[in-house]
Symmetry: C2
């Protein structure tokens, strides 16, 4: 077992990602329901692209070796199906964008580039052979791998699937996720609460963060307040879910027996405590086949670690081939100090190539204002005392894509 607090944020992320089991269950979904899912099989081209040689413009198709004075003998619209016909020397056809270019013709000139156009004749200037013609198969040929297994389905990917006539797509089945909180002091937001009662922010915030990233999760409620009941509760849960995410309950407090209840259910911890500020009381482990995250009770730290650790892990568990947050490089706008003995996750605002830590990194982990007034996270490895104005920093935007390589950490 790894000792509490001896692990860095990047080691924690590595341990999570190394210990995900392989995704094997697949299902088919209709393309409209496929956004943010991960493709479970390589998608190969069903047809050539373009399927036939066609015009890229509205204009006239002709043979490049002919004269510049041409007789218009026919009009071809997009979608017109026709048998090839004889086109004599110095004859051309009027042709619409997307329409098949007749056999023997090799170049298209757009209407507006013609020197003169009458109903029957056109005069054209010099133009490069093959201009405005899209050749059959020039983009890709039937059988080529277009989309690789593990790719996230974006609107762009759906455009390509439709292009191939694919409307039902094989995706990986995502893990079933349970979210729980500890502490019977928490009220749900639809309950009435006295001023000294606190709402259960974490469960709802994490559920919404997961939803944004394409994961569904059930909020199971609040963990019982005795060890025995909690052991039973977890025992039932682990038969029904692939991932359990709890928040609160694994620091040193007297009432914090959640960790013990996990251990009694066979948990093998990957780490228990991260040397990071905020977000130290964080644990991850495997309990039979269930991946367990125990996040901090503080809403801010809990949210940051859900974003920084849980989302990449859930992506990998779901068969994604890209699970590291993509970063942007930014110029740090103001000096700020950090404790060099710890890693830090620092909220801030990125705009137009510049980044600034929220309130000079002076805020409490019990606050939510830093979160709603930031749009990005800087993850800093230990060792530095000051981040200087003008330094280039690596920033994870809340709206980020994911990549196959890790560029996340500032050193």
């Amino acid at each position: 077992m790894i000792t509490l607090d001896k692990i860095s944020f990047s080691q924690a992320l590595d341990l999570c990602l190394e210990n995900t089991s392989e995704t094997i269950i697949k299902k088919q979904v209709f393309i409209y329901d496929a956004l943010k899912e991960f493709i479970a099989e390589d998608v190969k081209a069903e047809r050539n692209s373009p399927a036939f040689t066609n015009s890229a413009m509205d204009g006239f198709a002709f043979k490049h070796s002919d004269n510049r004075q041409l007789k218009v003998v026919k009009t071809i619209y997009a979608g017109d199906k026709y048998k090839d016909f004889d086109i004599k020397e110095n004859e051309c056809v009027r042709i619409m964008t997307g329409a098949r270019v007749p056999e023997g013709l090799d170049t298209v000139i757009p209407i507006e580039k013609c020197i003169s156009v009458t109903d029957n004749e056109i005069e054209i200037p010099e133009i490069k052979k093959g201009s405005n013609v899209r050749l059959k198969g020039e983009e890709f040929a039937k059988g080529d791998v277009l989309i690789q297994k593990g790719t996230e389905i974006t609107p762009e990917i759906i455009a390509m699937l439709v292009n191939q006539g694919i409307v039902n797509v094989n995706i990986y089945v995502k893990p079933k996720i349970a979210i729980l909180s500890t502490g019977n002091e928490l009220k749900d937001p639809w309950e009435s609460a006295d001023e000294d009662e606190v709402y259960n922010i974490n469960s709802h915030a994490i559920k919404m963060l997961l939803k944004k990233h394409g994961f569904k999760a059930d909020i199971i409620g609040i963990i019982p307040d005795t060890l025995d009941k909690t052991v039973e509760f977890i025992k039932t849960l682990k038969t029904k879910y692939d991932v359990i995410i709890t928040s609160g309950g694994i620091s040193f407090g007297d009432a914090d027996f959640l960790y013990e209840a996990y251990l009694k259910n066979g948990l093998k911890p990957l780490f228990h405590g991260i040397m990071v500020k905020p977000g130290r009381p964080t644990m991850a482990g495997i309990m039979d086949n269930v991946f367990v995250f125990a996040l901090p009770g503080n809403p801010l730290s809990s949210y940051i670690n859900a974003f920084g650790l849980v989302i990449p892990t859930l992506r990998k568990l779901s068969g994604a081939d890209a699970y590291y947050h993509n970063i942007v490089l930014a110029e740090n706008l103001k000096d700020f100090k950090v404790n060099p003995k710890k890693d830090h996750t620092i909220l801030g605002k990125y705009e137009n190539g510049k980044w600034e830590a929220y309130n000079g990194y002076k805020y409490g982990s019990g606050m939510l204002s830093p979160l709603i007034n930031s749009n990005s996270l800087m993850i800093l490895n230990k060792g530095k005392e000051i981040i200087k104005k003008g330094e280039t920093v690596r920033i994870v935007p809340f709206e980020c894509s994911f990549g196959k390589k890790c560029f996340t950490f500032n050193t």
Copy 2:
């Protein structure tokens, strides 16, 4: 009327954004359904944060002016409700994270920082007054504006709403959107198609792009192939939708009478044709109270203009206070040439501060490979002939947030 091709991409965007009508219809939704919606009223704090002075750590609460040797007289758990009680000099309480700090005590020391701890007594080192105590209202006070009208609802915003006990939130009703295609040559992807038949990519791709950005749209089908029928078709649609998006049909082709059908329905064009490559045959206008976009027929240009022009406009139409794509700055990896007489929208890949145009910006607008192998767009104003290796360029990631200022264009 604005002449075809005389307008830049940035002017086109400005014209769209300047001509959106004000959003006034509101509705309430439950927080779980609120992601990507826009807040319709300022949200004020319902309570102080923190609601009461509480401990930031598991530890011991004491009076800073007391000795460093303290008697433990009580334990207070998070959620404990209690009347204030007398605490004598050199007495302290054991306290859990989040628990209310008794009146008269001002500082908390974490368990692990104590010099010695027994059941009844602790010895503590020097610690700053007020440490580990969160004061009532220190983050914000009741009545403060927490979230401004027009803000996009993110998981972070939901965390704050829950913190305030808000589960039903006022949002703007988004516009009703119809998507249409032109050209009876198009097959839907669930139809069987010969090799020389083309699938209707645009409608589905745009619907999915809109879905990703939080907008619902109905695919209405394919516009009839005669002018009269199309005039009638549009006439019916405009009574039912707030936005109509068509693709194809407004270039110079013989079969392109869509524009005329719009005009006969009272369309006042904002522009008709953009001096951009690809994506020239693009039109936007207002038809009674309906915002109309006519996008190119080419899937690539159609998709790019939907992303670059339609999404910001739909956000503004929906009451968002932030509708300009946020950009990242990147180092251009390779020289590439462009036609200096036009604006350009250039697909490419951003990673770790560097960006590279897809295939040196050599690709056709009928292709989809450039789209699925890119993750970002560079929008370039006319005037440049070459984009040099090492230049800093402004890049819009497909996964982007939106801001109140426009940093989109490269000059």
